[in-house]
């Protein structure tokens, strides 16, 4: 039972990252290499808020907002000038962000590991089906499910979602219809950055907060995005849960092979269905 809970919570975390990556890719055709750094930044920001205010919830709210502002600045200042160039340049820029963001974190918070604690409400463990499960993990599952439900509702039902989906498909046409597409781009990048930081803030109490955490999770997120299908957000949910469960099962049965298992999934996907396990034609966001 606890394996399933760990797997689901891991999957939810990965989904928060993969959703941001997918949205940004769908809208901007940019793979954001710095997504892991934003996740790490989110964890540090949440840690800072907790040590200042003493409230976990303040961190959970503040970290994504600050990261979203940083994301908006990144898009405005650096990415906007290079949209008309080859996509490689945009990817390289986000790689440059990794170096700068990591250095900024190193300057501000130093090299030591930081520790965050779950909020008191979810500090304990719950008995479920005869095994004890940390209630914070359950909170992550519930929170992640709520966020993804809200996300899908926004994308499918709201006017903003409609604009994002339309602009992902044909930005020129949407611009002709009188919508400020460059503002939509900034918004989507900023929103994705916020989602990554939200993931980081939620992950804070689970893992030690350190400089390498961004890179560790970004590789898994990339694998999720590839397995799920490029730019396919529904695929990303399934793939995130698949990778999360694989990791959790791996940790409990074959700990030293965990990393290989995810790669076997990745390579298997590429051989069987290079376009992604959960891909459907003609759907991007």
């Amino acid at each position: 039972m606890s394996t399933i809970v760990i797997g689901l919570s891991m999957g939810m975390l990965l989904f928060l990252l993969a959703a941001g990556l997918t949205l940004i890719f769908g809208m901007l055709r940019v793979i954001n290499f710095a997504h892991g750094s934003l996740y790490m930044l989110g964890a540090y920001l949440a840690f800072q808020m907790v040590s200042v205010t003493g409230s976990f919830w303040a961190g959970l709210v503040a970290a994504p907002i600050i990261a979203a502002i940083i994301g908006a600045l990144m898009e405005r200042i650096a990415l906007r000038p290079v949209y008309d160039r080859d996509h490689v340049y945009q990817l390289l820029l986000t790689f440059g962000f990794i170096l700068v963001l990591d250095e900024a974190v190193r300057i501000i918070w130093g090299l030591e590991y930081k520790q965050m604690y779950p909020p008191e409400l979810f500090a304990g463990a719950i008995e479920m089906f005869g095994s004890s499960v940390p209630s914070y993990r359950l909170f992550i599952i519930g929170f992640g499910a709520a966020v993804s439900a809200a996300l899908f509702f926004m994308l499918d039902r709201s006017r903003y979602g409609m604009i994002i989906r339309a602009a992902s498909g044909d930005p020129e046409m949407v611009r002709t219809l009188g919508i400020n597409v460059s503002l939509v781009r900034t918004g989507v990048f900023s929103f994705g950055a916020g989602l990554a930081a939200l993931g980081g803030a939620v992950a804070g109490p689970l893992f030690p907060i350190e400089l390498g955490m961004g890179f560790n999770i970004i590789i898994d997120s990339f694998i999720v995005v590839i397995i799920g299908g490029l730019g396919n957000i529904r695929g990303a949910v399934m793939a995130a849960l698949l990778i999360g469960m694989t990791r959790a099962l791996g940790y409990s049965y074959a700990p030293s092979w965990v990393d290989f298992l995810t790669f076997i999934l990745l390579i298997g996907t590429l051989i069987l269905r290079p376009e992604g396990l959960f891909s459907r034609k003609g759907r991007t966001a």
């Binding site: 793979i31 650096a78 000038p81 290079v82 490689v88 390289l92 962000f97 990591d102 390579i267």
Partner: protein, 315 residues
């Protein structure tokens, strides 16, 4: 004199610093520049000519370094055959990578090469710890033993590296003007059209990726022997990032550009890391500004300035 020759002159001056100013302290720096240049020249064949952005070259570089170290230290091989083996293994790994990575195109190629090289990095640290020495790496990697020359002297080793550097540059120059190079440029500018003309796009891409892996393997082996050490850091993704930065900084797709990029990167590393421990962040800022401001790198900038100063002498 045209702009290309001017670039060649700059490169020639940089690499001949130890000849012009013998007995200086710059010899170690120039040796490092020569080795990283071989890596960057090979990387640019994939990145600048074929237009494939790989974030996995650290794997070939590091595996080359481990191959040379293990063959010379554990198996008692001579240096030169071991260096050849480093290239062969680097190229073979690149070929294996390419079978998976070329299935996806464009940006996802970068993600996949990154993920695969990370797998190699993890393997070297865990499963192959017996072989690779884990995080400690292997110390005491030897240098060549040829003609009775003492290559443990940096000044003598310089000539060995210079010879290999010139060879690497020549081969890369030949590939660029060869039918293979021309076909790759065609694929870069329009993959669909190249395929319709009748090129076997994937096979050509695999070939150049493998050649580039050989370059990376050889240069990795050389770096291990220069610093007498090989560690997992060489396999780390940031090594892939470094070579990307070097090539882009210097000017992708030009023969001499990557070498200029390496020189500037190494001089920055040498100088900035003395001033501040945060040099990598500064490097990131420089990289961002260069990516926005000068997409053709320093070589592109020099060519542009040259053509403005010397109109009519177009390169």
């Amino acid at each position: 004199m045209n702009a290309q020759r001017f670039l060649a002159l700059i490169v020639a001056i940089i690499i001949s610093v130890p000849l012009l100013f013998p007995g200086g302290h710059n010899i170690g720096l120039v040796n490092a520049i020569l080795i990283w240049s071989i890596f960057a020249i090979g990387f640019d064949l994939v990145f600048g000519i074929a237009g494939m952005l790989s974030f996995g070259h650290a794997a070939f570089f590091g595996v080359g370094a481990y191959t040379l170290s293990l063959l010379t230290m554990r198996m008692g091989w001579d240096f030169l055959p071991a260096l050849g083996a480093a290239g062969v293994i680097g190229g073979a790994l690149a070929l294996v990578f390419s079978y998976f990575a070329i299935r996806v195109s464009g940006l996802f190629f970068a993600l996949l090469t990154l993920a695969l090289s990370q797998l190699i990095y993890i393997m070297a640290g865990t499963k192959l710890r017996m072989l690779t020495g884990g995080v400690d790496g292997i110390a005491g990697v030897p240098r060549p033993d040829l003609f009775g020359i003492d290559f443990y002297d940096d000044g003598n080793y310089y000539f060995f590296l210079l010879a290999l550097f010139v060879l690497a540059l020549l081969i890369s120059g030949l590939i660029r003007i060869s039918p293979l190079g021309q076909a790759l440029k065609a694929i870069k500018s329009n993959e669909v059209r190249a395929e319709q003309i009748g090129f076997n796009v994937q096979r050509l891409q695999r070939s150049v990726f493998t050649i580039s892996g050989i370059y990376a393997g050889v240069s990795g082996g050389l770096l291990a022997s220069l610093i007498f050490y090989v560690g997992p850091q060489m396999l780390h993704w940031s090594t892939s990032g470094d070579v990307v930065i070097m090539v882009l900084l210097g000017g992708m797709g030009s023969l001499f550009g990557p070498i200029l990029g390496v020189a500037i990167f190494e001089i920055m590393r040498e100088w900035l890391s003395m001033q501040t421990s945060h040099w990598y962040g500064i490097l990131g800022l420089v990289f961002i500004i260069c990516t926005i401001g000068m997409p053709k790198g320093i070589a592109g900038l020099i060519i542009q300035l040259w053509d403005r100063i010397m109109p009519g002498g177009k390169s």
